[in-house]
Every structure is written in C-alpha cells, then in structure tokens.
C-alpha cells in the first residue's frame, strides 16, 4: 500500500514537473541549472575556445614554417605585435605558444570535453533527473565563464598574455621583470586558472556524487556504461590533483605579489641581487606536475570512455573485456599520480629516483595496451557501421597507439635527456593527448548530437571532415618526430641563427605549417555542420544508433527531469549487442530478462527472480524529495 501511495505521489509530482511554468529566457538558456543546458553551454564555449586556440597555433606555425614571410596581413588582428618590418614580435611568439597550450589543455580538452559530456551523459546514462546539485553545477559553468573572460581579456592587454609556457615555471613566471608576459598577463593567467580550478572542483564533486548516489534502480557499478566509469575516474583525478595546482598557484601568487620566496632564490637581474633567498624553483615543478600529469588523463580518459561506447555500438558487438577496461582505467588513474617526475628528468634529480619514475612510467604501457587491444578486438569481426562518430573513434585508437609508442621512448630517462624539450615531445603529446582527445570530443559530438539537439548531423560532411582531419593531423605530427630527433628545441622563435638548423629541415617545417593550415581549414566544415544541423538538420529518431544505454530511452528532446513519469530501471549491462537468439541486434539496458527468454544465458535466467527486488528498490529520485 505504502509503495503504491509513494509511487502515485511520484507520478503526481513528476506530472507537476511536466507542467512547470515556462521559465524565463534567462533561467532557461543562460543561468540554467539543467544539466543538458549546462552541457551545451560548455560545448559551445569549448568550440569557440578551440577555434581561438588553434588559430593561435596557426599564427606561430606561420612564423616557424616561413620565417621570412611578411605577416602584415595579420596586423588587423595582432596590431603592433607585427613590427614595422612585417615580422611577428618574438615576445608575442612566446605568448602565442603559452596561450595555445593553456587554452587547448584546460579550456578545450578539460572544460570543453569533460564539462560537456560528463554533464550531459552522467544523469542521462545513470538514470537521474539531474545532477546532485543543479546550483553548484550552474556555478561551475559560470566560474568557468569568468575564467574564460579573464583569460581572453589577457590576450588584448598591452604587455601581452602570459608567455612563460603553459607550465609557468618560476622564476620566469614569478618575476614581473623577467619578461613582458610575466607582468599583468601572468597575474591574469593565475587569477583565471584559480577560478578555473574552482569551476572544475565544483563540477567534479557533482559528477562523483551523481554517479555514486543517484543511479537508478538496478544500475550497479558493474552495469555502468564505460563512459560513466571514465567520467567518474576523471572526476576523481581532478578532485585529487586540482587542489594541488591551486596550492602551487597560491604560493606563486604570494611570490609574485607579496615578495615571499617559496620558489625564488639568489637571482641577479642586471647585476643586482634580488632580496629573495631560500626558495626552490624545483618545488614548483613537483607541485605543478603532480597536477600536470593526472591532467593528461583528465583530458584523455573521457575520450577513451566515449570511444568504448561508440565502438561497441557501431561494431554491434559487446565491448571486449568490460571488466578489463574498468581495471585498466583504474590502473591508469592510479599510476597517473606516481609518475609526475618523468617530466623532470633533466632537473638534476637523483638518477636512482629517475629510474624509479621511469619504471613506474613504463608500467602505464600495460593498461594502455590492454585498452588498445580491447578496442581492436571489439572491432574484430564486428558488423561495423562507419558513422562519422565511429570513424573518429577508430582515429582515436590510431592516435592513441602511434602516440603511445613514442611515450615508451620518452619514458626512458636516458633517452629523455636527449629528447627533452624537442619537437619529438611536442609530436608525442599532440598525438596521444591532443589529437586523441580532440577526436574523442568530435566523436562524442557526432554521436550524441541527436540527443542534444534532436537533429542529426550531416554524415557526408562528417566523412569529409574526418578524412581531412585524420590525414592532416598525421601530416602535421609525423614529420615533427624527425625534427625533434635531429635536435630542434621547442618554443624557439626561429631556427635561422644556428648553423645546424639553418639549412636542414626548413622545408619540413614549411610542410608542417602548410599541413596545420590545411587541418585548421578542414575544421570549418565541422563548425558549419554543427551550426547548420542544430537548426536545419534532419529530425532525429529516438534511438538513431540502436544503442543500449538509457539516454536513448528518454524523449527525443528530454525536458526537465529527463524522463516523464518513472525513471526506467536497469536489468542488464550496456553491451548486449548481437546477442545470439535475440530478435534485434541490441537489447537496451531497461529490458528485463523476463522479456527476452529467447536470448538469455543460463545464469541470466536466474536473474529473472531478482527483477521484482530491483523494481522494489529505493529509488533516489530527486523529484520524490521536497525541493
């Protein structure tokens, strides 16, 4: 009786939710607490940031590829950063490199990727009405927005934005007199990043709480889609590592603005000694890379999680090694925290310590290889449908492997001493972290666009976009390995002053720059497809990819609360594709075993008895609670 009463109360309450007064424009689209709107806000901000971030890289690639080129045509955008002779200002070159790194790592691949898809998919795939706290979620986006505005503003100030590299090592970043970019630009960078960290913590806390507390009936951890596992572990990584970056930044702020000496010691500028004594710049590197390395996985894991989902769906096969995938993600997440010093092999650390970090670093190859093999074995003999999302996912696997191989080379401390800070490193991390994660992001957009906007993206344009981007990225980064091995250091303004760089590889640098411009141009196909399809795309069916996860059981345009009435219960894992005996080649998670006797395995028949128990479970439905 009590259950019935409670249920009818829920229905009544849910119905009441359906008939909420239409909220004002501001509450619906701007200061929204709805996870789907916040996800779209993150996505659109991420796309705008990526256009800015990649444009910056095209600008410095022009300088690197064509050092004698007149860049006067950039004056309308860059103003006096193009000097009288039509050359890019060397100080601004450093700023461009720094801002490209900062924007792409944090604003695009952290906020744009994790912010979009964790927000969008966690409640929809675990079966929750919304995030645990819609208010904190909204706050998270607006902290990010504020951080974005400050970072964007720093591009336009007279002394230019931060220019000490995205890693902002002191003393360069700690002393305003060190470089133009270390003046106001660096201050704004630190303020922006502090706000960004707050935003990421608010978001991450929400993701973890939602996954743990608000799963629907029957959605045990062993039935969670791999996307959710990936978002969950990403959020845990962020929760543990971002506060450490905040500490590092805080001490740096005190060094810069209050005259403390945490990172500064015995520095002479123009023959005069600074008062700071007793600090240690290496300390900053330790603190920074304690975040910096997990950050690599914060960027990559969500992309890997979405790839698992997309590859299984479009191969029409269960994901190979579901538990091995979870275990390897956990392994990667754990190892992420104990390998940071491999970024610091050349800081004069004890070689014995170096070999420990080398050993731990190389172990990462094991879970990474497990993941790569599982993707390939999932594809193996699958009934593959090459949707654009699928192509981008396969592209991700390709980048993950080819970039991961060079990781094994760089992880060796002896080899790293030769290759440190050369273009080899640039090529390595752009493939394994940059391009792979960007492909995860693009795959996710192509795959979940119908759920986000209720319309399909144009497939033909998607194919063109994929092939141009895929080929373009390899054309950019493959030659870069050779340049790195031959000793070209990264972050240099020009290679015209040294004999060993003057004549060799100049043509290859031009080639890379042309390939970069080509790849950047190809992205406009995506931007056009995205914007056009949002308004004019073909109307999407409810489950366009015939996928198993819960988000496709929600209405095509899910409203507030995602499901009208009861949230579906979950009886099976998310990967029942092409099950022998089954009517269709997919069985969604909310279909009970009692309805599919023809395809049940013996142990699954035993689970039929437990279905009543699952249905009777206490549902953490937010609508049931007074609010």
């Amino acid at each position: 009786m009590a259950t019935v009463a409670a249920n009818s109360a829920t229905v009544a309450h849910a119905a009441e939710h359906d008939h909420h007064e239409p909220q004002s424009f501001w509450r619906t689209y701007i200061f929204s607490e709805d996870h789907k709107t916040i996800a779209k806000q993150y996505l659109i901000s991420g796309i705008i940031w990526s256009v800015i971030g990649i444009s910056l890289s095209v600008m410095f690639r022009l300088q690197l590829g064509f050092p004698n080129m007149k860049l006067d045509f950039l004056r309308p955008i860059l103003g006096n950063w193009i000097n009288e002779t039509g050359k890019l200002d060397p100080d601004f070159y450093l700023a461009l490199v720094t801002m490209h790194g900062t924007i792409m790592v944090f604003f695009v691949l952290t906020a744009g990727l994790s912010g979009t898809f964790s927000n969008f998919l966690i409640p929809l795939q675990v079966g929750a009405r919304d995030m645990a706290s819609g208010f904190l979620n909204m706050l998270s986006y607006w902290f990010f927005f504020l951080a974005s505005m400050i970072m964007l503003g720093s591009l336009f100030i007279e002394t230019g934005p931060a220019a000490g590299g995205w890693v902002i090592y002191p003393p360069l970043s700690a002393l305003p007199q060190a470089h133009k970019g270390s003046e106001l630009g660096m201050t704004l960078w630190l303020i922006s990043m502090a706000l960004f960290i707050v935003s990421q913590l608010l978001g991450g806390i929400n993701y973890i709480t939602t996954v743990i507390n608000l799963r629907t009936r029957g959605m045990s951890f062993s039935k969670l889609p791999l996307t959710i596992w990936a978002f969950f572990l990403t959020a845990v990584l962020g929760l543990i590592s971002f506060p450490v970056l905040l500490s590092a930044a805080l001490l740096l702020i005190f060094d810069r603005s209050f005259g403390t000496s945490f990172y500064l010691s015995e520095i002479y500028i123009k023959g005069e000694a600074l008062p700071n004594v007793g600090g240690s710049p290496i300390l900053f590197q330790h603190l920074f890379w304690f975040l910096g390395h997990p950050e690599v996985y914060i960027v990559l894991l969500p992309a890997l999680g979405m790839t698992s989902e997309i590859i299984a769906t479009n191969s029409r096969k269960p994901i190979f090694g579901y538990r091995a995938m979870i275990a390897s993600m956990m392994g990667i997440a754990f190892l992420a925290f104990i390998v940071w010093a491999h970024h610091m092999f050349v800081t004069g650390m004890n070689p014995f310590l170096g070999s420990i970090f080398m050993f731990l670093t190389l172990i990462i190859a094991v879970p990474s290889a497990v993941k790569a093999f599982n993707y390939i074995t999932t594809l193996w003999r699958g009934n593959i449908r090459f949707t654009p999302a699928m192509l981008f996912s396969i592209g991700l696997v390709s980048f993950f492997i080819s970039g991961g191989l060079t990781g094994i080379i760089l992880g060796n401390s002896a080899l790293d001493i030769q290759l440190h800070d050369t273009y080899f490193v640039v090529a390595h991390f752009h493939l394994v972290m940059g391009a792979a994660s960007a492909f995860g992001l693009l795959a996710g957009v192509y795959h979940w666009f119908p759920k986000m906007f209720g319309r399909m993206m144009n497939e033909k344009l998607g194919y063109v976009h994929f092939w141009l981007t895929f080929i373009g990225i390899y054309l950019v980064f493959f030659p870069m390995h050779y340049i790195g091995i031959s000793g070209f250091p990264r972050r240099y303004y020009a290679f015209t002053s040294y004999d060993f760089t003057k004549n060799i590889f100049a043509d290859m640098n031009s080639f890379i720059s042309l390939a970069a411009i080509f790849t950047f141009t190809a992205q406009w196909i995506f931007v056009w497809n995205f914007v056009y399809s949002m308004f004019k795309g073909r109307k999407a069916p409810q489950n366009p990819w015939k996928s198993n996860t819960l988000e496709w059981t929600a209405p095509i345009n899910p409203g507030h609360g995602n499901w009208p009435g009861e949230i579906p219960a979950v009886y099976r894992w998310a990967y029942d594709y092409s099950k022998p005996g089954a009517k269709d080649d997919f069985i969604p998670q909310n279909v009970p075993y009692s309805q599919t006797p023809e395809s049940n395995l013996p142990h699954e028949n035993e689970l039929i008895g437990l279905e009543k128990e699952i249905e009777a479970q206490n549902l953490n439905d937010q609508f049931k609670q007074p609010h």
Binding site: L136, L214, V244, S247, V277, G279, E606, E613
Partner: protein
C-alpha cells in the same frame, strides 16, 4: 561454450544505490579537496625544509591555547547536534552561539599569534620557514571563516525552528565541516611543531 557458461555462477545481488544524502556526500568530497590542498602545502614544506637554509624560531605559545579553544568549540558543536537530536531548541541555540563565539575567539587568537610572530621578527616575507607558518594559519583561517558562515546559516535555521530531530541534515553538515576544520588545524599544528 555452454559448459563454460554454466560454470559461471556470477549472480549478482541487486545492490541498493548509496542512500547517503547527496549534499552530505558533496561535503565529504569538498573535504577531500581541502585535504589535498593542505597535503600539497605540507609536502611542499617538507621538500623545502629538506633543502636546508631553514629559519629556526619559537612557535608562539598562543597557538597552544587557540588549539584548546578550537577543540572546545568542537565539543559545543557536538552538544548542538545532540540538542537538535533531542529537540531541545533552547540548548541548540545556545550551543551554536557558543560555537560561533569560540570560532571567532580562535580566529582572533590566530591573529594574535601573527602579532607575536612579527614581534619575534618572523615575517611573511623572508625565509620560507616563516612564510609557510603564515600560509598554513592563514589558509586554515580562511577555511574557518567559511565554516563560521555555514554556522551562521545553521543558527538562522535554528531560530526559525527548521532544525529538529527529523531534519538534521543541515546541522549534521555544519557539524561535520566544523569537526573537520578542527582536526585539520590540529594536524597542521602538530605538523608545525614536529617538523620545526
């Protein structure tokens, strides 16, 4: 194949999802992030200290007394929680107020500690040994202010009779956070004394 499948007796019992209040869970995660913030600070302290050139100074004794005050405030906070549980609204209001006052007294004593440090010629700017002292106390103080704000909300709720035996979430959240800040300070204090 079927034999293999028959051998798998992996029948999972349906598990209840965690029934913890999401807000309380959010608080715990927030606490994790604060722990990481201070873990980074204290390990930075150790790394820096191991490098030598470390200023030795006497930790002002007022920090001993302020620690006692903070522990007492934790006790009164617990008293507030117990009163709320028993619907004893008079005691609840008194207990929260006393906790609030003790928290403020603690902050004032921390400030006096800074004054003592300055009198000892240990400044924020100078050898990192001193700077870390200010950073630890300052950052903890900043978090304690946030704890006091949470407390004020609880106090307002108590006066509006919104905290009672059947609605304990708010007081529980305030109490958990307050006890955490207490333990955090004791950790920092013993850390500073031990690794001096």
């Amino acid at each position: 194949m079927s034999e293999l499948v028959n051998n798998i007796t992996l029948v999972e019992e349906p598990e209840e999802t965690l029934s913890m209040n999401p807000r309380k869970f959010i608080l715990w995660l927030f606490i994790v992030s604060i722990i990481m913030l201070f873990a980074a600070m204290t390990s930075a302290y150790l790394v820096r200290r191991a490098e030598g050139n470390w200023l030795e100074y006497v930790i002002p004794p007022i920090f001993n007394y302020s620690s006692v005050v903070l522990v007492m405030s934790s006790l009164t906070m617990h008293w507030a929680y117990l009163s709320a549980k028993k619907d004893n609204f008079g005691n609840l209001k008194i207990a929260i107020t006393v906790t609030f006052v003790l928290g403020a007294v603690f902050l004032y004593m921390q400030f006096l500690g800074w004054v003592d440090l300055v009198n000892e010629n240990v400044f924020f700017v100078g050898n990192p040994a001193g700077s870390f002292m200010y950073i630890f106390t300052g950052l903890h103080g900043f978090h304690l202010i946030s704890g006091i704000i949470v407390l004020v909300f609880a106090l307002v709720a108590a006066f509006r009779l919104r905290i009672h035996a059947k609605s304990l979430n708010q007081i529980e959240i305030a109490a958990t956070y307050w006890h955490f800040l207490d333990i955090l300070w004791l950790y920092l204090f013993f850390f500073l004394v031990y690794f001096h």
